[in-house]
């Protein structure tokens, strides 16, 4: 392990009225002290660039040219010591660097950087799009490097071919837990939901790149963040008491990601949830919601023990408690963090529902949903989401959520809103109550 130190804080109102069972808490996990940004670390880092070279990238040619340039720039910027490679994907997948047919990776130095950049600049194009093949090859390449931080950056412009629809989810399942993957869509002929399937399972983020010229900057930005990762394979482990039900475990900042379906049972009362690699300087918030068997007034119960696991070691823990009381002044208190993230989750949901309604031609529903989204985004200070919402709706009044759905909004604006809908803002911290170490 590196010098990264994790700490967990729990935000909740532990007081419950008699007879209730639902316990909510926000657990903030903060990592500090890694050697973020510097490629000196005892953890091996792998960066795999997966570039779409299907024929559609030629239309217009600016797309493939921008992708080539971006990949070349990323190769040239690869920090010393990082293991890297390039996968070219179409309706087949090949390892373009280091050299076709090999499944080893190159260690970044002056020579390999120059070679890879040269390869990237001349990636040949042709063929359809079968993303499952790209994911399978990427997995085969990185699989031998156990314990390393394994990251991939997938760049595509098109929707997956129909004949890949059964293999696509299977390839994602095979890659899950092997490597992490960010995805970027270029242009407007791809489906946000498709790429989100990849990034949700592979713990990455999906973004739209509307302008090919922005590709290089985004690629370098990803590389920056990838190199900052210092701890591989961190898991959130949650214990809940006998007779309880975990309603959900949700990452709520920096993005919303429901971890509930990713639960890996540890024992009868404990599940582990993968959170991927962490840098030495980041903070993520998790909203946990547990139903516990109810207690009498005055009873206290531990509703959840949330531990952060690096390998087999618990590096930090937070305790979520339940105390039953007949004092309504206590039990009706609203915890600011829990309320904030409940709002952010609703924001993401109403955007998805609003966009779907708009797609279905149900403008009334779209107006209600997106109006509520404007209201929630404005209330919580989520300016980024508010900005992209304005690309799809005309806002009359933020506070009341009075809007008109733009009928002529471009597909790109819609996709941008879709990809950004899960981006949250952190609540302003008042007085954190640190738990654990």
């Amino acid at each position: 392990m590196t010098g990264t130190v994790f700490s967990a804080s729990v935000f909740q109102n532990e007081f419950l009225p008699e007879g209730t069972t639902e316990v909510n808490a926000v657990v903030t996990v903060t990592a500090v002290g890694g050697d973020g940004g510097v490629a000196v670390s005892d953890v091996e880092k792998i960066v795999l660039l997966i570039v779409d070279v299907s024929t559609s990238m030629e239309n217009p040619r600016t797309k493939i040219n921008a992708a080539r340039r971006a990949a070349a720039a990323a190769c040239a910027a690869m920090p010393d010591g990082v293991l890297f490679g390039i996968v070219a994907g179409a309706d087949y997948a090949v390892q373009a660097y280091p050299y076709e047919g090999e499944t080893a990776l190159a260690r970044a130095d002056d020579r390999t950087r120059a070679e890879a950049a040269e390869v990237a600049r001349s990636l040949p194009t042709g063929g359809g799009t079968e993303i499952s093949k790209w994911l399978d090859l990427a997995r085969e390449i990185v699989e031998p490097y156990e314990g390393a931080i394994r990251l991939a950056y997938l760049l595509t412009d098109g929707e997956n071919n129909d004949n890949d629809h059964s293999e696509f989810p299977r390839a994602i399942a095979r890659a899950t837990g092997v490597f992490q993957c960010d995805a970027r869509g270029v242009g407007e002929n791809w489906h946000v939901s498709e790429l989100r399937q990849i990034t949700s399972a592979l713990l990455g983020e999906v973004e739209v790149i509307s302008d090919p010229a922005a590709m290089e900057a985004d690629f370098l930005d990803f590389l920056d963040r990838a190199i900052g990762k210092t701890v591989a394979d961190v898991k959130l482990r949650m214990w809940a008491p006998k007779g309880s039900t975990v309603r959900f475990v949700r990452q709520v900042a920096p993005t919303i990601d429901d971890l509930t379906p990713k639960a890996q049972p540890v024992d009868a009362l404990t599940n582990a949830y993968p959170t991927g690699a962490w840098s030495g300087d980041e903070s993520r918030d998790y909203h946990v919601c547990v139903d516990v068997p109810t207690g009498n007034v005055g009873d206290e119960k531990l509703a959840a023990r949330v531990s952060l696991m690096v390998g087999a070691d618990a590096v930090s823990q937070g305790l979520v408690r339940a105390v039953w009381t007949d004092d309504t002044a206590l039990s009706t208190r609203i915890n600011a963090q829990v309320a904030h993230y409940t709002g952010q989750a609703e924001l993401a949901q109403v955007i998805q529902e609003g966009l779907q309604a708009r797609k279905d031609g149900d403008i009334d529903t779209a107006t209600i949903k997106l109006g509520r989204a404007v209201q929630l985004a404005a209330e919580s200070g989520n300016d980024g989401t508010l900005r992209v919402l304005r690309g799809v709706v005309d806002v009359e009044d933020e506070a009341s959520g009075t809007i008109r759905v733009k009928r002529d909004a471009g597909k790109l604006a819609e996709m941008e809103l879709d990809t950004r809908s899960t981006r949250t803002v952190q609540v302003k911290r008042a007085t954190p109550a640190p738990e654990g170490k």
Binding site: P241, K242, V297, G298, E300, L302, A303, R305, L319
Partner: protein
């Protein structure tokens, strides 16, 4: 996973964790007593249980004796004990009395917003002025602050600020009075307006200094006080 665990008294399971039962979540050991059901809220206390000084229910500490209402602890003894009277006797004294007329005319209230009780039957006491600077105020044991003219002694005057005013000996041997930004002001010789904060005013033999809710201090070269009748009527 249960190795030499703690027996949970709630569900009977052996818990591998010592803070809460790893089966039912009930608190174990120290946690169980720490989080015992809270006693019903104590009735609103209007006086300090230690020194009977008036307080509001929102106070954390007693204004007078420094008792911590939450813990019932007295403040830790300050490093400094009441300083011995420093400096040579000046030959001047402060005569401290309760002044009924002053009490009846001012609007000074205690911490609860109520007019304090007049300390009837209080006899005059005398504090010799020593050194070049004599502080008029109220002591704070917790802060280690002991003014020479301590108006929390005897009948504690709740209207007097901690560091209320200072008598200072000038180079020529005369004395001057300065109000130290007190809350309720310092009144010299029956004036209706208090002294301006921080401005030195010369004091002479038998001058009357009125502070707080009822305190009259006579600046005197002997043990006699200024009489109430010397107070000038307002024009």
């Amino acid at each position: 996973m249960t190795v030499a665990g703690t027996r949970c008294t709630t569900c009977g399971a052996d818990s591998a964790t010592a803070d809460y039962c790893d089966s039912c979540g009930a608190p174990l050991g120290a946690i169980a007593t720490k989080h015992a059901p809270a006693a019903p809220a104590a009735p609103a206390v209007e006086v300090c249980p230690n020194c009977n000084a008036a307080r509001t229910v929102d106070d954390t500490f007693c204004e007078s004796c420094g008792l911590d209402f939450a813990t019932g602890q007295m403040p830790a003894a300050p490093a400094a004990s009441p300083p011995p009277a420093a400096g040579a006797p000046s030959g001047w004294v402060a005569v401290i009395e309760a002044d009924r007329e002053f009490f009846d005319t001012n609007q000074v209230t205690d911490a609860t917003g109520a007019k304090p009780a007049y300390p009837a039957g209080l006899s005059a006491r005398e504090v010799p002025l020593t050194g070049d600077e004599v502080v008029i105020g109220r002591r704070s044991e917790s802060k280690g602050f002991f003014p020479a003219v301590d108006l929390s002694e005897g009948a504690s005057d709740p209207g007097v600020s901690r560091r209320h005013a200072v008598l200072r000996r000038q180079a020529d041997g005369t004395w001057a009075l300065v109000d130290e930004m007190s809350t309720n002001g310092t009144f010299l010789n029956g004036a209706d307006e208090p002294l301006d904060n921080g401005v030195s005013i010369a004091v002479h033999d038998k001058d009357c200094i009125r502070v707080g809710a009822f305190t009259r201090i006579t600046f005197s070269s002997s043990s006699s006080s200024c009489s109430s009748s010397s107070r000038q009527a307002a024009p």
